[in-house]
Symmetry: D2
């Protein structure tokens, strides 16, 4: 199912994954171990690191130039990284870069690309023929996502209903792809399949594909913006299909910059933002005063969000 071009990327990468060079640059053995290795995501997707620059120490180094003597107070590197993240001193984290090769469904790519602070080179269906690879959710996720979806009035999607939906998705995807190929009238090598008729331009034929078709890209981002991406997209409110990519990125973060990752978990992932009123409520609760939604100054929705974020059941 893969066309020639994709295959050539695969083989190119196979070559590089065996190469060994000598460098004076900061090098992270735990990340080298998985360099170029694809991590499977969803049914046909993957994510793999293809290059990186810098490590925990590069962040520390940049911070020490900026904050100079001020950084002495937090003399240990680990403490400094925590200090930087706590106080949102973000520029030292911009000194590290990482480059991924990612395969993902188009409707997820459309969400993803809204993070504008990355560099992207996407496979172009204007110039190339897309592979016949489309995303089908697993029945469990289909049911689970639809259940948590507030707009759904009905009951949970039953296994039979899920099956039916998957058949619809599969049939539509296959029919649209067959018609895409018919319109192109080209085989894998760009030769006409049917000599008696002309083909439609690739840039037009592609419009018949569904949003669950896979695309791929190189995506390069600095460490600060990667943490921002992960914080938003590995969050429980993110759509499942992008969350699974973000979760692999967390594992990659952990290998690449373990001390930064630890601080990230403490100050971003595990942390909570309190509003002015939220802070007042916390202060009252600590003093043992009675507070309920009615006298809190918060709307029901905000009250619920606050109690959830504090892990309280009041």
């Amino acid at each position: 199912m893969e066309n020639e071009k994709t295959v050539s990327i695969e083989s190119e990468l196979a070559d590089v994954s065996n190469q060994q060079f000598t460098t004076k640059r900061a090098t992270v053995p735990a990340l080298e171990d998985i360099l170029y290795t694809p991590h499977k995501v969803l049914d046909h997707g993957f994510i793999r690191v293809v290059d990186y620059m810098g490590d925990d120490n590069a962040v520390v180094q940049a911070a020490r130039v900026s904050y100079g003597k001020g950084t002495k107070k937090v003399s240990q590197d680990r403490g400094l990284l925590r200090y930087l993240l706590r106080h949102r001193h973000t520029t030292p984290f911009e000194m590290c870069e990482i480059k991924f090769h990612i395969k993902l469904p188009i409707f997820i790519a459309r969400q993803w690309i809204r993070h504008r602070t990355a560099n992207v080179n996407e496979y172009s269906a204007r110039y190339s023929i897309l592979d016949k690879e489309f995303y089908l959710p697993s029945p469990e996720h289909l049911a689970a996502q639809s259940a948590t979806n507030k707009q759904c009035r009905g009951d949970t999607v039953t296994p039979e209903e899920a099956q039916k939906v998957l058949e619809i998705l599969k049939e539509d995807s296959e029919r649209c792809y067959a018609n895409y190929k018919y319109m192109l009238n080209q085989d894998e090598n760009g030769e006409p399949q049917d000599e008696t008729r002309a083909g439609v331009a690739r840039e037009l034929a592609r419009m018949n594909l569904n949003l669950n078709y896979y695309t791929q890209w190189y995506w390069k981002i600095d460490l600060h913006n990667l943490m921002h991406f992960v914080a938003l997209r590995a969050d429980s409110h993110a759509q499942y299909e992008i969350r699974v990519y973000a979760e692999i990125m967390k594992e990659i973060l952990k290998r690449w910059v373990p001390n930064t990752y630890e601080a990230f978990q403490d100050y971003r992932e595990g942390g909570v933002n309190l509003s002015r009123i939220g802070l007042e409520i916390v202060q009252k609760l600590i003093r043992g005063e009675q507070v309920d939604q009615g006298n809190s100054g918060l709307s029901k929705r905000e009250w619920k969000e606050l109690m959830e974020s504090l892990g309280l059941d009041i």
Copy 2:
């Protein structure tokens, strides 16, 4: 076919287009005349200006602060704007902003969004139901684009073939949309259509739509980056379906900043970049020397591009 939310945008904009305020801000009557007015593009798309800031004079003002006395040499505003564009002094043009409301096919939105220097708020099919509006090319453009498309070995698409392709696109779009609605199991008001079964989450159902479905967004950009967008996308190498939007933007540019637009035409649109070797060839040609591809130092492709850009037939 329009759902409630879109309708409300329409009526909101209808209200504002009648409003009249008094302002001390730079105001451009020619642009006010078309403020909020949709310009039709393709079969269901549109583009309209919903806000703007600054004018030709704001660029001049910013340049005079930056270049100070240096700008005296080019004492007239028109001359200064030409000087700035000629010498790629881009920051003064960043002092003007314009905000559009645009409706466009998804496969074009995917090209468009690669311009990262704009602000975007897109209609989200994760939260809302997409309208049943999809793009079908006109038979002429289908044939024309496919003919210029280098990958096509066959002859031109005949009228009969074009008709067949359009039927395929229409059928697939309609079937996929019907299935999208079936999976959602919701009417326009979010009420279940069939009470006996659950619906699928919007964020999942949308994946069955084709890339020719229309989306819409607010898109805000500064004048410098708008000119860059227009130069790339109104170019003859751009895909027809994005070029028609860029061409309307040119008309808008002309109304908004007429002097900048004139300079833009002279230095960007009508201009040519010569390479080092291209310059040497031009110098030889001016001196009346013989040059052909063989002795030019250029590849056949580069030679052809150079002769075309010079409008020569050698």
Copy 3:
């Protein structure tokens, strides 16, 4: 003391502040009232709004396109703005722009420019002659800033010492400016002061000026990034000389987008970020458990910061 160029900006702005145009654009009367009016800052600085685009409603409109039906749950505009800020949905706030004309000391301009998400046109001492205007702190601020400054081992700066410092600053500024003018050998009109000798290029002579000399620029930024700037620079840890500018911006924010400003105060300014451990400590405190720095898992520094941010004295 002002040279011709600056004067011409003043008179240009004087002209525009009396103009009255009719527009269909969103207009904010409270901001129009102070359009072009300089607000004095420090001894020679100022800040004034020279243009703007959008208002509270533009943010709401952009959010309703993006989040569609989802925004119905928060049906009122004020509630929607609060929701957006609380959940860090930042793109709708990028739909508004504001442009300032600002005069500020160079050492503050160097801090300021690190915010890269703005557009800037600065007065260039490469092409123009800088005015003889330099910043001298007030004796109180000189003492206050030096006292809170952790590196200072000594006692507070006494009035006599402050006086001496100010004299040094004044003398050095004046001598360096006199030498700057001597090297330039030019009067206000660019005519040689002393016909018997050549002058030094402006781009070189400027290097003799001190960092307390004033520069000026146009600075244009969107509402999201403006709030970020204000949150960082109106903070009590920011240097006094930039904080005074940020505080005026807060007043401007309040006039321009009152509902957004209210939400900004509740969720950014008055808010607190709790780390994972900070959250655990708060939970323990609410449950009435004993926690002190020793058993908290926090360093002394982090403990102190947490207690301060919670307004507790434990």
Copy 4:
């Protein structure tokens, strides 16, 4: 003269320049040879590469993903790189990054920072004490720059005048630094020099320094933006003091990405932009027609610029 912090950066870098790691990443031996090595610039400045990511091949790889089969037509890597630069397909060049450690005078740092598409961590005089290192131009450059400077009506700066100017600069720099240290009242270790009086905060004392004092920073940028920086700043119109840094960057580019550099020289450095009218004039000249400024449609200034860029003397 160097304070403790700077020394520690030096020794840190000394350590790393001897390290040898094994990596699977793309590695460029010619760049490794000069990694961490400072190249002297001006009297106290330097520039050195401290990290990099990617090479010529990373650009090619990214382009092949984007343009897919389209890139077959330009089958060789060198040809593809030339094609990309010629057609301003810039995103593949964004896939490479380089990080520099740079020491430069503050008035040059102020020009430099206007390139917003880089990541910066600057030594902060708010937290640290600046070294006593200031820039003095050489007498030749002082004279040369002042002569080409259009504002100068007088004759060339004579050797005696240059000597006098340098003495002024030196004296003012030294006096201001001595007063800076007096106000700080701190030695290298932050200990009070005079126990009987308090010191002034670093964030305030720094304002007495001149713009020719040296600062330093880490500066990280992608290959596309680096070429843009070099094209602007190695240009003959750039100020000498920034041009010398840009020229070293050209040497670094040549080592790092030799094929890209070759294309850069042909299409950026050695190239010329013709306006619409400029193109018409060139066409007339090639046809042997008479054109002079009077009948050209160009202003005298534009005509002169065109003739210079074409290397013609008409």
